[in-house]
Symmetry: C2
Subunit: 334 residues, 2 copies
DNA sequence: TTACATACTTTAAACGATTAAAGCAAGGGG
DNA sequence: CCCCTTGCTTTAATCGTTTAAAGTATGTAA
């Protein structure tokens, strides 16, 4: 089956490609194309099973109707959730999403961004990897439309959609305090990422505002493989923690696995609160109380902000969304 | 920052775009370009931060270096696994993957395939939705390179990579029999999909070969929301089943949730065996014995088969891979 | 009869790359 | 002095679209 393009249709009907293009783009009336001719063209296109070559169209129009999305790590629940939301919203607006995962690696992040730019995406939605400030600055200088999601760099002024991490963590901590926990441990990554550090700040401020003196060892800033030592440290002390606040679902997952292994009961032996929900929580014996990010909303806002940026240029949006605290049964309510 | 193309470099150096193109494509020697000129071109490209316009290149070369991937449902573990594998292998070969999910809907499947074709993907990797035979036949007639993964239609001769579902189910059932289970229930979707039906066939043949008379009610062909009734039916009978063989991880997940709700212990009250592993199994109190598909291998084979098809045309490959039975602790070994 | 509007349709130049083919200058052989 | 190489560079067509601008034919008014 040979390719059929405008030319083939034009020959078949006996007109020029221009006319075919007009008709097929719905400009038949505007361009005053003879009705019969228009009909002939339409039915020829149908009969020959014409498929416009989007590549040629993109080249001419300098518009690919494609968004590049870079997430931090495809395995995160956050990533699949936000991807889904973004794809849905993009599709509504007739955009395709091509995406890749940086695996939290700054170089891979830069590489993906470059690949997308070469493919002439109309804009980018990015969950930036740690230390990718330089790449972001480059995008600004190059005037490439982009919006950050989930993470932003406080000292670079960009468009972004994030969670109000401070508030979410504050509220979560407050909930633990209200349910009579007094020795609350926060388990977070050892990181420089602003959004994660904001969670620590929310946690600490909540303690402070409720007059609970903070102990340094309650704030565990670790890598995921160090969960066992960290939990041992805070759970077997003379004054063991009565609640574990995990700053991400991945940390919580590993934490819960460790608790299972140690046969520690949740919430009997220790209360657990998580940020976000992992699929894996579904079969844990107790529903995990967690702070839920509005992924749908984030994705929607991200796409819409980006499209505004692409179409009308030069807008500035910094959006903070609020998390919902979903009450499960993983915190003792005594 | 205005766009820099071949033209800008050419002007900057004072040569024609042809020369620039040659040098930038590593044909400097072949085309006997003056060494100094070549160097000037290269450094100009660097200095101006030249990025080739892949769209223009694709149009000219009639090659996009893009693969279209359609999965059945983004939420399946199988889908994320195979996507990951395919992306990895594609990247190794300098291909980009654009993908979409049909959500098991035949029309959405066809639509996605069309979008990809319009975008001039070089080939397709497809997990076909139920009843999409027509679309597959169309692709064959149009001579568009594609390979099916996971699912194939026995009466259409295509290239495909699947699991040997019959054998996997046979072996799994045999394991249950070997561990002294005699009333084994198979829970599968109500479907016409060949690969899923093969699992039933494997199950039944294993029973037959071990002289266990099959009872109709042991084979539950249902929709996922009917799990509760189905399990009630087979577990509360006068002669309740001693093992549940779930044909997919999704079914198993819902089954386990139901067992949790009913406070039925695994494997104390009933043994459980699953096809594939859901992330959610991680926090179940007992590791689930399951048949594991070699996703990495499938993805790799799919990409390589497709690339052969794209490059050398006209090959025919039907590949069946074997599953591994991963022994957990969800089957009583008495 | 001329002029001009109306109703269509075609021409041809883009978009940014690739690449066969042609062009040009210098040097060597006869 | 003419012709042919060799070494290097440019010209121009092409990929499949879009779209201003120009073209043509017919009808109508002055």
């Amino acid at each position: 089956m040979k390719k059929v393009g405008l030319k083939e249709i034009a020959e078949h009907v006996g007109v020029s490609t221009a006319l075919v293009s007009y008709v097929l783009n719905g400009q038949a009336i505007e361009k005053q194309v003879n009705k019969e001719t228009a009909e002939k063209i339409l039915s020829a296109a149908e009969a020959l099973n014409y498929r416009p070559n989007q590549i040629a169209k993109s080249l001419k129009m300098r518009k690919t109707h494609t968004i590049g999305l870079v997430v931090a790590e495809i395995n995160y629940r956050f990533s699949t959730g936000i991807t889904r939301a973004i794809e849905g919203e993009a599709k509504k607006n007739n955009y395709t999403v091509i995406y890749g995962s940086s695996n939290e690696n700054q170089e891979k992040f830069a590489e993906l961004v470059n690949v997308f730019i070469n493919r002439q995406v109309d804009g980018l939605i990015l969950v930036p990897a740690e230390h990718s400030e330089e790449q972001i600055r480059f995008l600004q200088k190059a005037e490439i439309p982009f919006v950050l999601v989930d993470r932003n760099f406080p000292d670079i002024k960009t468009n972004y959609i994030t969670l109000d991490n401070y508030k979410a963590a504050y509220k979560a901590t407050e909930y633990l305090i209200a349910t009579h926990h007094r020795r609350i441990c926060m388990v977070n990554y050892k990181t420089t990422l602003f959004n994660l550090l904001e969670r620590n700040r929310g946690y600490r401020d909540a303690l402070k505002d409720h007059k609970i003196p903070f102990k340094q060892k309650w704030l565990q800033s670790i890598n995921v493989e160090d969960i066992p030592q960290a939990l041992d440290h805070v759970l077997t002390a003379t004054d063991p923690c009565d609640a574990l606040f995990f700053a991400t679902d991945t940390l919580a997952l590993h934490g819960l696995k460790y608790l299972n292994r140690k046969k520690l009961n949740v919430p009997g032996d220790v209360s657990v609160l998580s940020f976000d929900e992992s699929d894996a929580f579904e079969l844990f014996y107790t529903p995990i109380t967690h702070s839920r990010q509005p992924l749908e909303e984030m994705g929607k806002q991200a796409v819409n902000t980006l499209l505004e940026l692409i179409d009308h240029n030069k807008i500035s949006k910094q959006i903070s969304l609020e998390a919902d605290l979903i009450i499960g049964k993983s915190c003792k309510e005594s």
